[in-house]
Amino acid sequence: MSPADARVLAATRPAGGEPVALLELVDGTRVLACWQGSQMPTVGDPAQVDGSPDPAKRAPTARAR
């Protein structure tokens, strides 16, 4: 899957872990993604999802757009 445009619906950074974001793609699909970056993403910000959002596989990664 090519990188997909999305926006951040919700986010966290577990203590000692990496940020995780709930993203909404432009078609309305929601994806849980591991966030590339040390800072917790801001809710409402645009994002770019890399890799497959297939929930049977590892969580996809995403980054700020």
Binding site: L9, A10, A11, T12, R13, P14, A15, G17, E18, V20, A21, L22, R30, V31, L32, A33, C34, M40, T42, V43, G44, P55, R58, A59
Partner: protein, 374 residues
Amino acid sequence: MVAIRGAGAVPFGTNLDPQRMVQEAVDAALADAGTDRDAIEFVVVANAAAEGLCDLGNVAVWTVDHAGLTGVPSWRVETGPSSGLAAFSAAAAMVEAGRGQPALVVGWEAMTGVPTEEATAVLGRYMSQAERRAGLSLPGLVAMLTSAYQARYDVGDEALARVPVKAHALAETNPIAQFRRPVTVEDVLASRVIAEPIRLLNCAPLTDGAVALVLDQQGPVEIAGLGAATDHLAYASRRSPPERFRATEVAAARGYQAAGWRPSDVDVVELHDAFSVLEPVSLEDLGLAEPGGGLDLLFSEEDPLAASPVVNPSGGLKARGHPVGATGLAQLYEVHMQLTDRAANQADGADKGLVHSIGGFGNNVHCALLEGTT
């Protein structure tokens, strides 16, 4: 009609003996109901995780045996942290169907006999595997919802920190509460981060505790209505706003319809505040506050017992404690005490009460609407 005839609970805490706390809760409920073991026709047991937390199986038999009720038919209900209210609903349906009465509902959980990391891992089984693979725990999922709620309604960490402060203040006078000491907003904000933006004191504790209720066709507190609903297991599979729990909205609507109530009829509510944000979110999902208005309702009066409705006068899951399989019954116990005018933090003139229990991350939600008959 099905009613709560009597209720009993042990003081919640840590390192309690499961056998002893079950016995004591059952003794207290039977005494409150004015009946004895020989009269009980069936037992429904609520327990969420004895296999993982106590290395026990066949939990219904274990419970009736140690409660001194050997020979009485028993069932176990497990819906995660809403197990207590789900067991109550199942037992009520059985009484109504003529299966027998009086019946006993017993809920218990012993969570502190294993290391915290192990208990957290057991509770993590309530989540989807995709969420676990992404490195999330239940607090992590709630942290995500918190971030959405804060962004949607421009709510800061300090505003949410007032929620556990209220809980601890109320629990100080609750004889069964796990934490009978105050905390401050500063304490909450200085506690360690669990998952941004929530901190340790935003979270309910691990708790040992047991509660029992006697159900019958008559009693001082009648069941006016019950409602329940599930949602997709995974957060990403849902379509409702990320700061809402659709299952609570549906369960409450079903309960109100069954009882013929409006939300404004509720005098007192015990709701599922396993994390700070869930108190305002649940008030809104239950229709007791406008969207975004939960915190305003909670702090509308200087004395929380003067609010309308009164919210979590027990101290809630946060400070009374959260023995997951028994929590729904602990909430029912508190509302039963409120509606019989015997609560430690008594709400003046409370006649109608609502109990709300969530079975995981916004899933398997149960509601019970109760009315005093005296």
